[in-house]
């Protein structure tokens, strides 16, 4: 399974495509997904970054993880052993977000120093340093083919940088947001941005349309579901909402956690069965996507859980609190069960 995922993650995802939207409508549950996150996740590895970890991200196949530190460095770790593989330093201020390309050859990261950096993974060299944002850059994301880097900044713009050409100007600047951009996600031809002005904007490149969903509270994080039919958005009113992508209707609302003032992450599990969110009370909350009930309250520590990332295929979770990254995995036999069931 892992080898499959290595080669073509998005195909893998497509194969696992179960529309969670339909499941919600029908109130049915897939048998495969029931037992996934109900049991506790087990802490397998703790990694110490140094400075506060601002974001932690899996790479495309989930074998490596990236941690963005406030110590201006970006670190690449192996997930299975927890070994530090490389440190990428070149930012002038704390690194806020990072993403890996689909072929694991490049990384991009953004920082409070208003710049976006494209890294070469192997050599650790800066391929390109992209400047243009007027404020600190909150989020960064490659597109599917790593031809474009999208970065959202506190200046209210999303800039689309071309990785193929030597131009230092962005291809396009999306300045529709009235306030800072807190989160950007790309799936295929769609960009999803969450802004502090309380709106989730979805740019459909193929249709040439911009859909704006009003959520009356500053957005901290947005996600696409794996099937691409839904959007997940967490906002500062301590609610995570699952919206239908095409109509904007709310399919689910997940509450209980505390997200009042900090920019914290939320995400969906690898098979769209659960919704996970960071919380300011030191827990990771995990809800059943269909039921909306809290299925797991994972205690991480005392401080704020700032970032989390779910493994693209397996039941594996990354969290970051202060200077540490935690890797959580399901019990080994359970994972094996899953693998067999999934395949």
């Amino acid at each position: 399974m892992r080898t499959q995922g290595n080669s073509q993650p998005h195909l893998q995802r497509a194969a696992l495509r179960h529309t969670c939207r339909n499941r919600i409508r029908r109130r049915t549950r897939l048998p495969v997904c029931t037992a996934q996150l109900t049991k506790e996740l087990w802490l397998t590895i703790m990694l110490c970054h140094g400075g506060a970890v601002r974001a932690v991200r899996f790479n495309a196949d989930g074998n490596y993880l990236l941690s963005c530190g406030s110590d201006k460095s970006l670190k690449l770790w192996g997930v299975s052993r927890g070994t530090l593989l490389k440190t990428y330093s070149g930012h002038g201020y704390e690194v806020l977000d990072a993403d890996g390309s689909y072929d694991n050859s490049q990384l991009c990261s953004c920082s409070s120093d208003k710049s976006v950096i494209l890294w070469d993974v192997a050599s650790g060299q800066v391929i390109r340093k992209l400047r243009g944002h007027a404020g600190k850059v909150n989020c960064v994301q490659f597109n599917e083919e790593a031809t474009v880097i999208l970065s959202g900044s506190i200046d209210g713009t999303v800039r689309c940088w071309d990785t193929r050409s030597r131009r230092f100007e962005p291809i396009q600047v999306l300045d529709e947001a009235k306030d800072g951009i807190s989160s950007v996600k790309v799936v295929q031809h769609e960009l999803l941005t969450g802004s502090v002005d309380g709106r989730v904007r979805r740019y459909d490149l193929r249709m040439g349309q911009l859909h704006v969903d009003f959520i009356n509270s500053p957005i901290t994080c947005v996600c696409f579901s794996q099937d691409g039919q839904c959007t997940l958005s967490s906002s500062l009113d301590s609610v995570v909402r699952l919206l239908d992508k095409s109509t904007g209707e709310m399919l689910g609302e997940y509450t209980g956690h505390k997200m009042k003032s900090y920019k914290l992450d939320c995400c969906l599990s690898s098979k769209d069965t659960h919704v996970l969110s960071c919380s300011e009370d030191g827990h990771v909350y995990c809800w059943d996507l269909v039921e909306g009930s809290l299925s797991l309250k994972l205690p991480v520590g005392k401080a704020v859980v700032q970032s989390l990332s779910f493994h693209p295929t397996e039941t594996c979770l990354l969290t970051s609190m202060e200077g540490c990254v935690q890797v959580w995995a399901a019990e080994p036999e359970e994972t094996q069960d899953e693998v067999t069931m999934a395949t």
Partner: protein
């Protein structure tokens, strides 16, 4: 039998060797071994062209290693050297004699057997020899006496009884021959008249013809059975490029498709050679007697001599292609020429089909009571389901014909002075008048100037000032609902403008506000001229009756305001100021075509958790072309130059840019009872601000708030007092007149902006107290004119921008922030399970600590700032918490470690 017949077959090529079944399959020859070799096994090189190119190089030279070597001349007494004539063949390779060489050797018919065609090579050599002979004309004789040499075929025919001029074949009777003739003639049955004598002879002969006399068949020109080699059609022969370029008969158009054209036959090298042999012509020197004349060397061929279209116009019936018979084509041409009498210019032909006349339908006649806005049934209007925005839009669309009862209590229907009176506030003494921005001496000078040039102001006295009237009415009855002041401004403004323009005869330097729209400008000028004549309803007459009511009312307002703003100046002032030579280019503002709608409805929807249509908005968005390319997505709007949201250019100085039916505040006002609404300082200041700007478009004629207050305080003042005021007002007008009032606007805006930003902060504080997520303040409408019939679609973008910017600059400090970095470096190092050196860890700890120190410092600095936000407080409290929890942190890490250990 079968085998015999097989042997009879002619076999081409070499047969494949019979396959041996046992034999293992041969390996295919790899590509690099597939080479071309000549018969000697040498590599064939393809130099130059594939055929005829000389092959140069080591092994390809005359078959020897050395290549061609000159032979030495040896002649001795015993062995006299023979007179060796070198031929070109001596210097050629073997390949050159081969089929594709430059001198292919092939079997040809010898002269004896060849037909009558002349051997050109021999003729040429003979000519050369004759030239070289001692007596130039020598071999002329020789030519004369050449022995009659007949080809074998002719000789054989003669022996068989053939005579020259006869056809070949068995002899025929006369009738047959005649039929032959007719048959032959039928092919070209054009009007070749019979030669009389022959015809008559034929007729006559029919009777006399004896039965037993036979005739030889008619001689026929042999048909050329040359096989077709190309893919061209029958009868096509290519151009002879030499002839075509030399320009034979350049005057004539070369018609390739006309078989009888002379140039054509020349081009194709037909055998109709007009023999020029004996003729002496043209150039005296430089041309040999036997050489052809150099035809016009400097002639240039022009493309006009060629057809550019295949076949020209096709006949309508389609029976013939472009190879149609001559007369058919000709007839068509003449008929066409007859139908059109005028001179057809070169390169044009008369159209075959008449173009259809365009039907232009007149626009439908609108009924006199037509309104361009759809009216809803009154029952619908009455229900509460209709949104306030819609209701307002309907009300405005209905115009001012229908007088609606002004709503009680709605503070937005009240004037600023009314509100002030209601609230019992003092009059603002801020610098809101233009005049107060000027220095006192300047003001005095303007005043004097104005007095000098002032025309009769009797009308002005009568003209009731809008704000003046309002104040008076408020004083008279505070409790009374709003009088008809809503509609009065425009009418009174009209009077104003009438007063100011009347009697002005020549004003060459009037400002032209609508230069961008010539027709509008024309209408405006017409309006001005009417004004000068003292026409009462100048506006109505000069407006375009074709426009919709809404447009007309809008233009009416604009005209009246413009006429007041750009009044004719007094001579002294106009001599000082000139119209700018270069107008500013950027008097148009880019405005987003689609604006995000009102937030209130959405907020309500969010509260009710009714996500979907209510909270969703869809815009047309143009991605960049390159972005589409990078995403492997076809361009959604191919050919559109727009990127992002489509934008519309709006007139910067147009009043209607700034006018806005305020959405959020005004619409919610009727829903909520006024006492429920929190009256904050911000509210008040904003309203005042709105009022201030309210007057700006009409600022030229409005009195300053100062003067209004004077009025209210001492309302019983006499008329002369009022007159003075009037004068003051007119001074203001003068100031405005000489320049487009942008600077003036700016001056006022700047001051008010400062006010607003400070008050904004306060309001934000309040908002944050009320709840989270209120920090997106919505752009305030700087202008709020209650009596305008403007739809809500136009929003002032420029004003919005400024507000947004001020927001973002403040957003630096709030919005979702990042959690503080870890409180304790020691703790982190304690449970770090990574494989790092201890030394490095310690270094890191130090660094972390240092950083934290810095961080805290920063925060303290920030806290000292004047405007604090709630999140700041939260951060602070967070820090305190984390410091409190220091001791507890260890417990948690221990737990975690336990868990770690529990994992096998």
């Amino acid at each position: 039998m079968a085998s015999d017949s097989e042997e009879d077959f002619v076999v081409y090529g070499t047969p494949l060797e019979p396959l041996d079944e046992d034999e293992p399959l041969k390996k295919p020859i790899p590509l690099h071994e597939q080479t071309v070799k000549d018969e000697k096994g040498r590599y064939q090189r393809f130099h130059g062209a594939f055929t005829g190119g000389f092959s140069a190089g080591y092994f390809n030279t005359v078959g020897s290693k050395e290549g061609w070597t000159p032979s030495t001349f040896i002649s001795s007494r015993q062995q006299k050297a023979e007179n060796h004539n070198a031929r070109p063949e001596d210097f050629m390779d073997e390949e050159d004699f081969s089929e594709h060489g430059i001198a292919p050797s092939q079997i040809t018919t010898s002269q004896e057997f060849s037909s009558g065609c002349r051997d050109e090579v021999r003729e040429k050599t003979r000519a050369v020899i004759s030239q070289m002979a001692l007596i130039p004309g020598d071999n002329l004789l020789e030519e004369l006496i050449t022995p009659a040499r007949l080809s074998i075929g002719v000789e054989l025919l003669r022996r068989m009884g053939w005579k020259e001029g006869q056809g070949i074949g068995p002899r025929v009777k006369r009738k047959l021959r005649q039929r032959q003739k007719e048959g032959g003639a039928r092919v070209y049955s054009c009007a070749l008249p019979h030669i009389g004598s022959e015809g008559s002879e034929d007729d006559d002969d029919e009777e006399f013809a004896p039965e037993n006399v036979t005739f030889a068949p008619v001689d026929v020109t042999p048909v050329d059975f040359s096989p077709r080699s190309g893919v061209q059609g029958l009868g096509y022969r290519g151009l002879n490029p030499g002839l075509a370029l030399l320009g034979h008969g350049a005057a004539e158009h070369i018609n390739l498709f006309n078989p009888e054209s002379e140039t054509r036959s020349q081009l194709f090298g037909n055998a109709q050679k007009t023999s020029r042999k004996g003729r002496i012509s043209g150039q005296a020197f430089g041309v040999g007697a036997l050489e052809d004349n150099d035809d016009d060397v400097y002639h240039k061929d022009s493309m006009t001599r060629y057809d550019t279209v295949l076949g020209g116009e096709e006949p309508g019936d389609g029976l013939y292609g472009w190879t149609a018979p001559q007369q058919y084509n000709n007839r068509r041409d003449t008929s066409k020429a007859l139908s059109y009498l005028g001179k057809i210019p070169e390169g044009f032909t008369v159209a075959l089909k008449h173009t259809k006349e365009k039907m232009i339908f007149p626009p439908p006649v609108l009924p006199p009571d037509f309104r361009p806005v759809h009216g809803f049934h009154p029952s619908l209007l009455g229900t509460t389901a209709v949104s306030p925005a819609l209701r307002q839009a309907l009300a405005t669309s209905r115009g001012h014909m229908v007088k609606e009862e002004p709503q009680q209590g709605g503070r937005h229907q009240l004037d600023s002075s009314q509100r002030r009176a209601l609230l019992g506030e003092d009059v603002l003494h801020s610098s809101s008048s233009v005049m107060e921005l000027l220095r006192p001496e300047d003001r005095q000078r303007l005043y004097n100037l104005h007095n000098d040039s002032k025309t009769t102001s009797a009308k002005c006295q009568n003209a009731i000032h809008p704000s003046g009237s309002v104040t008076r009415s408020t004083v008279v009855s505070l409790t009374q609902p709003l009088p008809q002041s809503c509609s009065t401004p425009s009418s009174s403004l009209q009077e104003d403008s009438l007063a100011s323009w009347r009697g002005v005869q020549s004003s060459t330097h009037t400002f032209r506000p609508f230069v961008k729209n010539p027709s509008k400008q024309a209408r405006y000028e017409q309006f001005l001229s009417r004004l000068k004549h003292g026409d009462k309803d100048a506006v109505e007459q000069s407006l375009d009756p074709g426009m919709t009511e809404w447009e007309r009312s809008r233009e009416r307002d604009e005209f009246v305001r413009a006429s007041i703003l750009y009044q004719p100046t007094s001579s002294s002032l106009s001599s000082r100021f000139t119209v700018a030579q270069h107008q500013e280019d950027d008097d148009a503002v880019e405005v987003c075509r689609d604006e995000e709608g009102a937030v209130d409805n959405k907020q309500a929807a969010v509260k009710m958790k009714m996500f979907g249509k209510l909270t969703r908005e869809m815009f047309e968005w143009h991605p960049d072309k390159l972005l589409c390319k990078r995403f492997n997505v076809p361009d959604a709007y191919p050919g559109s130059g727009v990127v992002g949201l489509p934008k519309v250019k709006r007139d910067k100085f147009s009043v209607f840019n700034f006018l806005n039916v305020t959405e959020s505040r005004e619409m919610t006002a009727p829903l909520k009872p006024p006492e429920m609404r929190k009256k904050s300082r911000w509210d008040v200041s904003e309203q005042e601000e709105l009022d201030k700007e309210d007057e700006l478009p009409t600022s030229a004629s409005t009195a300053s708030p100062n003067s209004i207050s004077d009025q209210t305080q001492a309302q019983k003042r006499k008329e002369d007092d009022k007159e003075e005021q009037q004068k003051e007002e007119e001074e203001e007008e003068e100031v405005v007149v000489s320049r487009p009032p942008m600077d003036l606007f700016k001056a006022i805006f700047a001051s008010s902006d400062d006010d607003s930003s400070s008050s904004e902060v306060e309001s934000e504080e309040e908002d944050t107290k009320e709840g989270e997520g209120k920090n997106d303040l919505h752009p305030l409408n700087l202008f709020n004119v209650p009596s305008t019939s403007v739809t809500s679609s136009i929003t002032s973008c420029s004003s919005q921008k400024t507000v947004v910017f001020s927001q973002t600059s403040m957003q630096e400090e709030f919005g979702p922030s990042l959690p503080p970095p870890s409180a304790r470096g020691g703790a982190t190092s304690h449970y770090s399970s990574s494989t790092e050196d201890k030394q490095r860890k310690k270094n890191k700890e130090k660094k972390v600590k240092k950083k934290e120190g810095k961080h805290k410092k920063d925060k303290k600095k920030k806290k000292q700032k004047k405007h604090k936000h709630k999140e700041k407080h939260q951060k602070k409290s967070k820090e305190e918490e984390s410091s409190d929890e220091d001791s507890e942190g260890h417990v948690s890490t221990e737990e975690l470690l336990k868990r770690l250990k529990s994992i096998p």
